[in-house]
């Protein structure tokens, strides 16, 4: 069956186009890209022969479109296979003459078609940009769209592979966003630390190649920016030609992995027989005692008095919320923090407190933004979707008790993770004792970030009936605040003025922390205490809405 005769393409594509969200997205992309160009559209008779204005707009436009693609690509393919599997329609597809390749290609092209329409919404703005002069229509604009198409292809293939392995739609979304973040951002990290170590360093060379799997360095090269966080060193491996090869290789690998999953074995799921430790042989019991700090197969005691049962339930029914997993998480965090401490000790000497502090802040905020929706955005929507909310309604527990149990379960996990990443700051304070005040302010900013992420995600979950939807909305909201405003910062001074960038950054507590830390590029912005007031006000607003909504949901309709 040829690609054009593939019925899945039409179904996936039309299904996506039919939704109201699609129209909103198209309008938003068209409006934002046009507004960007209009801001710098020449208003007097003087011609800018240097093309500076259009190049400034081109950079913000390029990063904005790249962020849009990275943010939106996982949304549709991540749930595509797992939802069909859970609804039973995947079995119908397997029963049809369509083979695994046809199913995969249908879903891939269906999702890419939607993204193509989305990108087309920005074409008029790109054309206007070319008309302003200074930007090559073929090499730069065409190159940018080719890069965006490759990024969309790569991330769609990864998301489809994750969807074929996931058991729930929201789980697939979480892992897809994590994978996109890992490929696009985390892959750049080693190069940031290891660049300039010389040709003899295998690690440094490996890091240069590794950064080619991310579209960001390629985009930077295309827009004539210096390399990622460049310290004045020139990279030997060029990202622009390397990225297409890496993207195509990843796509091919993901395609093979997905098509091999698309058969009846996808429905096989081992059902645990629930054998407990005391039912095993004596030898096995001893081995488990020795190797498990906290045995997961041990029979748990009943929920203790005075403890909120919802809090315990949330930890117990979370895959990584069990005590043995928390112990492992703490151990892993301790190891990571030791590595971080070592790296920051050596790097602080070389690069200064400001840069290292800035990287630590960015990593911590990335961790919070990535992790919080996975925990908080399904707190209520997950219960509603599974039918558990009706059962909770039938218990004598009040809305406040249910809500506090749920929120506390996320808060404890977040606290645990944030605290485990703090030793790096201790090193900074030890090296530069006068930084203590700065670190204190940064910690307050981190606390506000965590509170905002938690309350925003929980509020979103209270208004959605499906966990996948609430997870997506929460990610989009948080990434808009913490990454979207950074796009405006990227266009600082041109095309955006100082006042506008400062106003935009006021809602971003990460930027506030970076300005306090004195990270290059943020020093000139005075964001504290406005950022605290704005985030605090938003937190109070979300909390009020959340409580009211929870009360409504627990009352008779």
């Amino acid at each position: 069956m040829g690609v054009f005769g593939n019925p899945i393409i039409a179904r996936e594509f039309t299904n996506l186009l039919r939704s109201r969200r699609a129209i909103h997205l198209f309008v938003a992309v068209a409006a934002a890209s046009s507004a960007l160009v209009l801001m710098r559209w020449p208003s007097d008779a003087i011609v800018d022969l240097s093309g500076n204005q259009s190049r400034q707009v081109f950079r913000v436009f390029g990063y904005g479109m790249l962020a849009t693609v990275l943010l939106l690509t996982p949304v549709f393919p991540a749930t595509s296979i797992v939802r069909e599997k859970n609804q039973g329609t995947l079995a119908l597809l397997f029963n049809s003459p369509l083979g695994p390749v046809s199913i995969f290609v249908g879903k891939l092209i269906g999702a890419l078609g939607f993204l193509a329409v989305l990108l087309m919404m920005s074409v008029p703005a790109a054309a206007a940009l070319t008309a302003m002069g200074g930007v090559s229509p073929l090499r730069e604009i065409g190159g940018l769209y080719a890069l965006l198409a490759l990024a969309a292809l790569q991330n769609t293939a990864i998301s489809l592979w994750i969807s074929s392995r996931a058991t729930t739609s929201d789980g697939a979304l979480r892992w897809s966003f994590a994978a996109v973040l890992a490929v696009s951002v985390v892959a750049i990290g080693p190069h940031q630390f290891l660049q300039g170590r010389g040709t003899e360093s295998l690690l440094s060379t490996g890091a240069e190649y590794l950064r080619c799997v991310s579209p960001i360095p390629a985009a930077m090269e295309l827009m004539a920016h210096s390399d990622v966080a460049s310290q004045g060193f020139e990279s030997r491996v060029r990202a622009a030609p390397g990225y297409p090869l890496a993207a195509l290789a990843i796509t091919l690998a993901a395609a093979i992995a997905t098509t091999t999953r698309l058969n009846y074995r996808i429905f096989d799921r081992a059902r645990s027989q629930g054998v407990m430790t005391h039912e095993r042989s004596r030898g096995e019991q001893w081995a488990r005692r020795l190797f498990f700090l906290v045995d997961p197969q041990r029979r748990t005691r009943g929920i203790a008095p005075l403890v909120n049962p919802v809090l315990v339930k949330e930890f117990r029914c979370r895959r990584f919320g069990r005590f043995h997993w928390l112990m492992r998480l703490m151990a892993a965090s301790a190891v990571v923090s030791l590595v971080l401490t070592l790296a920051s000790t050596t790097a602080t000497m070389e690069r200064g407190v400001e840069t290292i502090g800035g990287i630590m802040v960015a990593l911590q905020v990335a961790l919070i933004v990535l992790l919080t929706p996975t925990l908080a955005a399904t707190l209520i929507s997950g219960e509603v979707e599974s039918g558990g909310w009706t059962l909770l309604q039938m218990t004598p527990m009040s809305a406040a008790r249910i809500l506090s149990g749920k929120l506390m379960s996320v808060l404890w996990t977040l606290l645990l993770i944030i605290v485990s990443t703090l030793p790096g700051y201790l090193v900074i304070v030890w090296i530069s004792p006068e930084s203590w005040l700065k670190v204190r302010v940064v910690l307050i900013c981190l606390a506000w970030t965590a509170a905002f992420a938690l309350l925003a995600s929980a509020t979103v979950s209270a208004f959605c009936r499906r966990a996948a939807t609430s997870t997506t909305v929460a990610y989009v909201l948080l990434l808009s605040v913490y990454a979207g405003t950074m796009l405006i910062w990227l266009g600082r001074d041109a095309p955006f003025g100082h006042a506008m960038v400062e106003n935009a950054l006021r809602i971003n507590t990460m930027a506030a922390a970076l300005s306090v830390m004195g990270t290059p590029g943020f020093v000139t912005y005075r964001l504290i205490p406005d950022a605290w007031w704005i985030t605090g006000g938003a937190c109070v607003g979300f909390a009020v809405v959340l409580v009211l909504r929870a009360r409504t949901l627990t009352r008779p309709q």
Binding site: M276, R299, G302, R316, R319, S386
Partner: protein, 347 residues
């Protein structure tokens, strides 16, 4: 096997000993905008009885149940369980009622014992009493062997039993079970039936909805048939059967295929309409009739006189399915008449 008769946690308010009525609705109605989901429903249930709540999809069964358990506010009328008003005494209702919705409400990564422990704690049952209570309810529902299994790994039938165990945790007076036999295999259905009878025997009052009418007929003391939000029949099963059997179904089994058209003509002439249905494969003529025994005897004589070879002439025993179909058919006829009247009025 023992089951606690007093609540292990906070004691649930018991009904007055002078009355055995545990549930009653009076003119209970629910509207969603212009749509009437429930129209003046009057039903009741006594202690230790099982009420079968029957109706086609969208008839208003779940709406009634949601009002009874306090999840939905009625537009008018009242519903009372053990003296507690379903609209005003939401907290008491939660302790008096054990509700099993048609969806299990599973949690991932939780064992059955942990699942029940959570709901026990949510109902405020103290830890020590809770452990004993979980053991009791699992024994009652024959689910003790599942206590260490993960709930999401249980089969549908097992989940239904765990669901009932959950409803029993706080020792409620009334159990409201929405489609408990739905999707169960025959063996699991028999087990479910025995379980429900056992619960009634220990004094629980049950309201059960089901589409599997023969199952309900075997366990129900009372039956309520509801269509389009209106109560069409309510009362003891035997009484409803008597009402339905006023119009009996008669089957005439023939020995010869050639006699079928002639037999159908005789039956139609006897009735004065063309209501007889003919089955070629079964060699059978079926019809519904209000006629007396003597009149039916005359019909048989006519058939024999006209040389129709009759091998059997029998009355079909009515069951709950017939009662349900009879009531829903009447409802359909009435709807057609109403529609016809509406069309005439429009003309």
């Amino acid at each position: 096997m023992t089951t606690a008769t007093t609540a292990p946690g906070e004691p649930a308010a018991a009904p007055s000993p002078s009355t055995s009525r545990v549930m009653e609705t009076r003119a209970l109605s629910k509207r969603f905008g212009d749509f009437i989901a429930l129209d003046a429903l009057d039903i009741h249930l006594d202690r230790g009885q099982i009420l079968g709540f029957i109706g086609p999809n969208g008839a208003g069964k779940t709406t009634t149940i949601k009002i009874l358990v306090g999840l939905l506010r009625p537009s008018s009328g009242e519903a009372v369980i053990c003296g507690a008003d379903c609209r005003r005494d939401a907290r008491r209702i939660k302790k008096l009622v054990g509700y099993m919705p048609d969806r299990f409400g599973s949690y991932d990564n939780m064992r059955v014992s942990e699942y029940l422990d959570f709901f026990g704690a949510a109902f405020g049952i103290p830890r020590r009493a809770r452990a004993n209570r979980i053991h009791e309810v699992l024994e009652t529902t024959n689910a003790a062997y599942m206590r260490d299994r993960y709930v999401e790994s249980l089969s549908h039938g097992m989940q239904q039993r765990v669901g009932i165990a959950r409803t029993l945790l706080h020792d409620p007076e009334v159990l409201i079970l929405d489609e408990p036999a739905n999707g169960l295999d025959p063996e699991a259905r028999v087990e479910m039936r025995q379980l429900l009878l056992r619960l009634a025997a220990i004094g629980k009052s049950l309201i059960v909805t089901s589409h599997i009418l023969p199952e309900l007929a075997r366990i129900c003391d009372q039956v309520a048939i509801i269509t389009n939000g209106r109560l069409r029949a309510f009362g003891p099963l035997a009484e409803i059967m008597r009402r339905v059997s006023q119009e009996r179904t008669i089957e005439i089994q023939l020995a010869n295929r050639e006699d079928l058209p002639r037999a159908a003509r005789i039956v139609d002439a006897f009735h004065g309409d063309a209501g007889a249905s003919v089955s070629d494969t079964e060699l059978m003529v079926r019809f519904r009739s209000h006629k007396s025994e003597d009149e039916l005897g005359d019909l048989l004589r006519d058939l024999v006189d006209q040389r129709v070879r009759v091998s059997q002439f029998r009355e079909l025993q009515a069951d709950l399915e017939d009662a349900f179909l009879s009531v829903t058919r009447e409802d359909g006829d009435r709807a057609r008449i109403d529609a016809g009247a509406g069309t005439k009025a429009a003309r």
